[in-house]
């Protein structure tokens, strides 16, 4: 990625509100033209701060932000030409939907006829033609959300920022809106920077996801890579269901290593992010990669486990087991015709592949 390709570039950006704590610690991020990039992280991880710095509502404490290779630290928000969708929609209550959409065009001194065409086009895009004369309060949450998206796009910005735009919607509507926003992005080819704390939202919509924690991007990767090849314990734990086993590295090969858990079990793992023999490491195993009753020799890691709790979830049975000293080890048993019938307290052999068990940095 050469700098010239990137539409938006954060370069060594730091941010502190109180002069004591860095909310953003040395952020470097390139956003490509036409990309849908999501910032994902728990609340307080600094993702919204990034968005506010890009929009111009918060100054960066140090470092520089570039938009189309132009530094924009000193450009006021209204000259940045960045569209923004807010969590609570921020539709102006005293204006009709039509006036709301016309507002960005009006302040750009666009002629009335041109405005009308654009507003109509934008309303058509979000399937709300005929709503122009209504007030925001007369619309449902989902409709308001669509208007907010249309308003952020109506003046053809290069970049659209979305700050948890679906947070106030119920689950079904949220999923539907995820697809709609995704389709609008694909159709218009606009660059979207999206902030959310909902991982399924991030995985559904994005080209790339930046996982934020503690003011640092923990990993920046496409959704599938993020899920299957997490680079550290935080990402492994934050994205999807995950089992953690803590241990000490006792031997290392080029791509693999052996980790000895605290109860003495030795596990062969995929070496990803360890600090050498003798160091502590977190092993990450996805629940769906655990095999019940594997045949002898099928997998290198086989252990005796006790079923502690079974939760029926329809398509699968979530089972909590005690294995390798951890009593918080979850296994997904698919609800297929020949699935293993376990009862609480049963002992069973479980196992997993070396590839599916990633040795990561030691988390606390």
């Amino acid at each position: 990625m050469s700098p010239s390709e990137a539409l938006v570039r954060f370069e060594n950006v730091q941010k502190s509100y109180d002069g004591e704590i860095l909310v953003i610690k040395d952020l470097n991020l390139d956003i490509q033209k036409g990309e849908f990039l999501t910032m994902l992280g728990p609340s307080g991880s600094g993702k919204t701060t990034c968005l506010m710095m890009l929009a111009g509502f918060e100054p960066a404490t140090s470092g520089e932000i570039y938009l189309e290779n132009q530094p924009i630290n000193c450009v006021p928000p209204h000259k940045r030409g960045i569209g923004m969708v807010f969590q609570n929609y921020a539709l102006f209550p005293h204006m009709t939907i039509g006036e709301n959409l016309a507002f960005p065009l009006e302040v750009r001194k666009m002629s009335k006829s041109e405005r009308e065409i654009k507003v109509k086009k934008a309303l058509d895009m979000v399937q709300l033609s005929g709503f122009a004369d209504r007030r925001p309060a007369q619309l449902s949450g989902g409709q308001q959300q669509r208007v907010a998206v249309a308003r952020a796009l109506v003046f053809d910005p290069d970049v659209v920022l979305m700050d948890e735009p679906l947070g106030a919607l119920d689950k079904n509507l949220r999923e539907q809106m995820q697809y709609e926003i995704k389709h609008i992005h694909e159709r218009l080819g606009v660059t979207v920077l999206y902030v959310t704390h909902d991982q399924s939202e991030a995985l559904t919509m994005s080209n790339r996801v930046a996982v934020f924690d503690d003011g640092i991007i923990q990993q920046l990767a496409p959704p599938d890579v993020l899920y299957e090849q997490p680079e550290n314990a935080f990402v492994a734990d934050f994205i999807g269901d995950n089992n953690c086993l803590l241990g000490t590295v006792i031997s290392e090969a080029e791509k693999s290593c052996v980790v000895k858990t605290d109860d003495g079990s030795e596990i062969e793992a995929n070496k990803v992010n360890t600090a050498g023999v003798g160091s502590r490491s977190t092993l990450s195993i996805r629940p769906e990669r655990v095999i019940i009753n594997p045949e002898a020799g099928q997998v290198p890691n086989m252990f005796q486990a006790t079923a502690e709790e079974l939760i029926y979830l329809g398509d699968h049975i979530r089972t909590r087991m005690t294995v390798c000293g951890s009593n918080n080890f979850f296994v997904k048993i698919p609800n297929s015709s020949h699935h293993a019938n376990l009862n609480k307290g049963d002992t069973v052999t479980i196992g997993w592949n070396e590839q599916d068990c990633r040795a990561l940095n030691a988390s606390d």
Binding site: G56, P76, P77, H78, R80, M84, F86, F92, P104, V107
Partner: protein, 429 residues
């Protein structure tokens, strides 16, 4: 059929209780019971307001047109006088004079004749002393031993009784109700030729109404001007800081009105703090001390200060509800901060300005104590004159008429406000 406590559907589609009574009627009965209980809760307050507030107001409204005193004191004279043609240019008949002396003597014994004199004195000065003198002299007069006519006897007591005007006045004010208080309240009076303006130098109330309206508008405008930025600051600060500042706004509320007004006197008077400072720094000379109190300036300054919280509080509560992302959204769409304020923030605060404005305006239109203390002659308002007529001149009829006009004025402005801004847009918190 098991229907112990469950409802069941009857043939015509309405639901019945287990005991056969209609469910609908039962529900209505329980709703009525709840409403009655709710009414019982407000009943004490309602009675209190009725007795101590609404009844006196109604009584005052009645007083503004009430005129039964003439008919009470001159019960036999009035019917006879009614037949007299006031424009004939001649005095009334002997019978009227006879009846008048008769009535007057009875009233004199009851010691109430001076009341009528006083009442009629509002219409024509000199009448009060005429009645007093007549009353005094009538004590010695014995109608049985009268040598002349009743007419001559009365004229002998005071020549003014030979003046047609006094009889015209009594005839005009003989009705159960009078419009004369309202006419005086708008600087007009009755005359034999109909309603006419009072003499130029006794016209005061219209100007007073105009001044009251103008000063109220000005004070309302000033409170908006001063209160808006404060409310904005309070609404945009962190809760901890804004609570502290809010206490500073509310502090005057918790101080006696009298103390606050007196403080302004200490600050603004000729030998006061502000003048002293200005003289000390040489901005004005010792002789050029500014007159900032006991005139309109004093009223405006003190009332603006005292009424400011009534503007700040509704403004603050409205601004508090304005989502900060509105302005951000406007900015992100390309509006300068001024445009964002003008097009997005300000329109959303109009409800608060309306609420605060109507509150301050109505309060100041009837404000009494501050203008009385710091207003001098040029800074007093209509309410000061109402108070004067209630407690000093004791012309309650005129005071009631002025009060009624003030009430109607406020109602008219309220309706106007409703038409222009819409009362639903008003937010008090």
């Amino acid at each position: 059929m098991s229907q112990s406590s469950s409802t069941l559907k009857t043939a015509d589609g309405s639901l019945q209780m287990a005991d056969g009574s209609s469910l609908k009627a039962n529900l209505e009965r329980s709703l009525r019971r709840r409403k009655r209980n709710a009414l019982l809760l407000v009943a004490p307050l309602f009675l209190f307001i009725l007795i101590t507030f609404l009844v006196p107001i109604f009584d005052m409204l009645i007083r503004s047109v009430d005129n039964k005193i003439t008919a009470e004191i001159l019960p036999t004279t009035i019917p006879l006088l009614a037949n007299w043609d006031a424009k004939s240019g001649k005095l009334p008949d002997e019978s009227v004079f006879k009846a008048f002396i008769n009535d007057a003597q009875i009233a004199n014994k009851a010691k109430i004749i001076n009341r009528l004199g006083k009442r009629l004195n509002y219409e024509k000065s000199g009448t009060s002393s005429l009645f007093r003198k007549t009353g005094r002299k009538l004590k010695k007069l014995d109608p049985e031993k009268l040598t002349s006519t009743y007419k001559d006897a009365l004229i002998k007591i005071d020549k003014k009784w030979a003046n047609i005007a006094i009889w015209q006045l009594i005839q005009r004010e003989s009705g159960r109700y009078t419009n004369s208080h309202f006419l005086s309240a708008v600087d007009t009076e009755n005359s034999p030729d109909g309603i006419k303006w009072k003499d130029e130098d006794s016209q005061i109330y219209l100007n007073l109404f105009k001044r009251t309206l103008w000063l109220s508008f000005l004070i309302t405008f000033l409170t908006v001007l001063l209160g808006y930025p404060i409310a904005y600051l309070l609404a945009s600060l962190k809760t901890k800081t804004s609570n502290l500042l809010m206490i500073l706004v509310l502090l005057p509320f918790w101080t006696s009105l009298l103390v606050r007004t007196s403080a302004w006197i200490a600050l603004l008077q000729k030998e006061g703090v502000i003048n002293d400072v200005l003289v000390t720094i040489g901005l004005i000379s010792e002789d050029g001390r500014l007159a900032m109190i006991h005139n309109q300036t004093g009223t405006i300054i003190a009332m603006t200060h005292i009424l400011l919280p009534f503007m700040i509080l509704p403004l603050f509560s409205v601004m508090k509800t304005i989502n900060p992302s509105y302005v951000r959204a406007a900015r992100s769409m390309g509006a300068t901060s001024f445009t964002a304020f003008r097009r997005v923030y300000f329109p959303n605060t109009v409800a608060g300005i309306g609420a605060g404005g109507i509150l301050v305006f109505i309060l100041s239109i009837g404000y009494y104590i501050t203008p009385a203390l710091v207003g001098g002659t040029q800074g007093t308002l209509i309410s000061n004159f109402i108070a004067y007529h209630i407690s000093e001149s004791l012309n309650w009829g005129l005071a009631a008429a002025l009060g009624t006009l003030l009430l109607l004025l406020v109602l008219a402005l309220y309706i106007l406000y409703d038409k222009v801004v819409g009362i639903d847009n008003m937010k008090l918190g």
